[in-house]
Symmetry: C2
Subunit: 389 residues, 2 copies
């Protein structure tokens, strides 16, 4: 059950394709607070520029797929304003309360005519049952819609819920590793805590996912709270701890779903780097392995070629002794002291699985970092060789 | 005509495959000087550890494909020693004068039995006509052997020659962008100048090539001079200038051949970044675009999707105003002030070509940098999904 106090809906507005859900809306009827995190790319799409200063008071989110409305200059911002104004009018809100998100081709003007024409139908479609359609409307090259939910029970007071939806699935890289995410809760959460938990949760989940190392111009993750459950969460208490765990769990589910559905992906691989000299080095090592095209194509082919992992580690900037490195593939002690450990057959078996973990011990210190990645397949090339068509 | 004073040869020694040239040798009979540059990966193959301290006096180069002899520990170094000892004995040299290079799978022991068994035949095969075979013996996933040569004419004194061979074609990234390169000249070049020109030439050529961002454990580039032409080159004179231009031209030819023959590559694209705030930022911007999987798959598909280039620039670390960016594709003014310029059809035509240039003006300063890259194709994935088999 999605959290109370929200309605959602989606329509096929024909922004790019005729019969595909491409416009979604969520509105919080008993609004309490909102928070957001956005792309760190210096080329920021118009909806990012629009929404960033409006989180906090933003209580509705309008999202489209088809055009990213990025690199569209003043025209793009004026398209944002027109969209927010009409949505606000239909919902009885102030335009400043309407958050926006877009995904699609960069550089094309938003199909505002189709969007504005579709908005009244979209507003009429809002209901307690529109959440799945909303999750579908934000898909581009995603093969499945991605939602996650969590029921929260507290020592006292009513139960509550967290629900989230996200879309990937290319141009996914840390800071932040989602194109778009929308998370809702019917707890009433202290606004400062809501922001802080969203930032920390993003760092622990989405920022550890990489599909191709490309960070989007449109990355946006929103967290809205309605307070409609009657449960209040303030910093420091047991409820805050319960809420944090639930929120991180929803974010983690969504982040894993993104990596699992990375463009053309056939494998989900968790890269764990341990024993690094510093946290920064652990991060560099994990990310370099997770993004190496040679490592990712070996994942695709199921080729148990650990030399590529060593080579990626060696250029990552992490400092270590190549002959102190141990690598486990699943539970297989694959590499010991930087040398082959005669486990080729077992390693090949693990690499045939749909999901597995690669644990790298650098033997240089105590710091660790983990990342989620997927393989590079023929389909990644096919999908991205002709994305706009 | 290869330079005087050298002999080369190659044999099929059966290191990995039965009937493929896989062992090559070059010896300088009238030795004058040698220089080398090596991988900056902290995982360095045994032949790199062997050769690095021996350039200068090294006058023969023994190279194998099949095994990289990397991450092979003390065993790998002892395999180097045995190879160098036998080669030296057959050539009448000291083992310290034998440079080594290897390419192939990381982590496998060198097939030293096959190598030692093949060495006498290899030594017998040395001749003035063995250079093409040598260039073939260093190939792994290369589809063509890569050689370049240049005839040098000086204001006075005899003419001279420079010849080079290189192999790629995956795990190619700056610092340095070659797996293996061998350059020979019959000029007598002041040793300090020889080293310095090789370093500068590498920076200007090989270090600007990227296939997949993966830097190898085995990258080695050697430059040997015989002095057999009778032409002497010392720092500062006109001959030094002539020699430098010729050397850079040979290195540039080889670097371009590597990018053109990148694994699975169907396009060669020169990325020129201008108007950056600093050289470092120009470099980051050019490299990020050149290595972006989304940009490279768009090159493959001929998809004129400039938004991916903007998105890559925006995450590169370079500082600029997205609406000051101009991009030309060939001679087509593709993007102006960060916006689409209505040239989709012409841009698509350029992207259908085998080779083209992408010129990016950031409008933020005076610094520039260029890189050579290739596209990411289905074949890249196929080749690297099953490299070891």
């Amino acid at each position: 059950m999605p959290p109370k106090g929200f309605r959602a809906g989606a329509v096929a507005a024909g922004l790019k394709y005729p019969d595909r859900l491409d416009l979604g809306l969520i509105v919080c009827d008993t609004f309490q607070a909102s928070a957001g995190v956005f792309t760190q790319n210096i080329c920021q799409a118009a909806p990012v520029l629009w929404s960033r200063p409006r989180v906090g008071k933003g209580r509705a989110v309008l999202v489209n797929s088809g055009q990213a409305n990025a690199q569209t200059g003043a025209d793009g911002l004026s398209d944002c304003l027109r969209s927010a104004e009409l949505a606000a009018k239909l919902l009885g809100l102030d335009p400043q309360e309407v958050l926006l998100a877009s995904t699609g081709v960069i550089g094309s003007r938003l199909n505002t005519a189709a969007l504005l024409a579709g908005l009244p139908r979209l507003s009429d479609s809002l209901s307690d049952h529109g959440f799945d359609d909303f999750a579908k409307a934000i898909m581009t090259t995603d093969t499945v819609s991605k939602t996650a939910q969590f029921r929260l029970d507290f020592p006292s007071g009513p139960p509550a819920a967290i629900w989230g939806a996200a879309k990937g699935s290319g141009m996914i890289a840390p800071n932040m590793a989602t194109m778009l995410g929308f998370v809702l809760t019917d707890c009433a959460v202290e606004p400062k805590l809501l922001s802080e938990l969203l930032s920390r949760g993003t760092e622990a989940t989405f920022n550890r996912v990489t599909v191709d190392g490309d960070t989007s111009t449109n990355d946006s993750l929103f967290l809205l709270s309605s307070g409609a459950s009657g449960q209040t969460v303030i910093d420091g208490g047991k409820p805050a701890q319960i809420f944090e765990e639930a929120l991180f769990s929803v974010l983690d589910d969504l982040a894993r779903a993104l990596a699992r559905d990375g463009e053309g992906a056939t494998k989900l691989v968790e890269i764990v780097v341990e024993g690094a000299k510093t946290s920064e080095q652990a991060k560099m090592a994990a990310r370099t392995v997770a993004e190496s095209p040679l490592v990712k194509t070996a994942f695709f082919g199921g080729d148990a070629n650990w030399g590529r992992i060593l080579a990626a580690l060696g250029r990552s900037g992490a400092v270590f002794d190549p002959y102190q490195v141990n690598i486990d593939l699943g539970n297989i002690p694959w590499v010991r002291q930087g040398r082959d450990n005669g486990k080729d057959a077992q390693a090949t078996e693990v690499m045939g699985r749909r999901e597995y973990r690669l644990t790298i011990s650098l033997g240089a210190g105590e710091a660790s970092h983990s990342m989620l990645t997927c393989d590079f397949s023929h389909d990644y090339v096919t999908i991205n060789g002709s994305y706009r068509s």
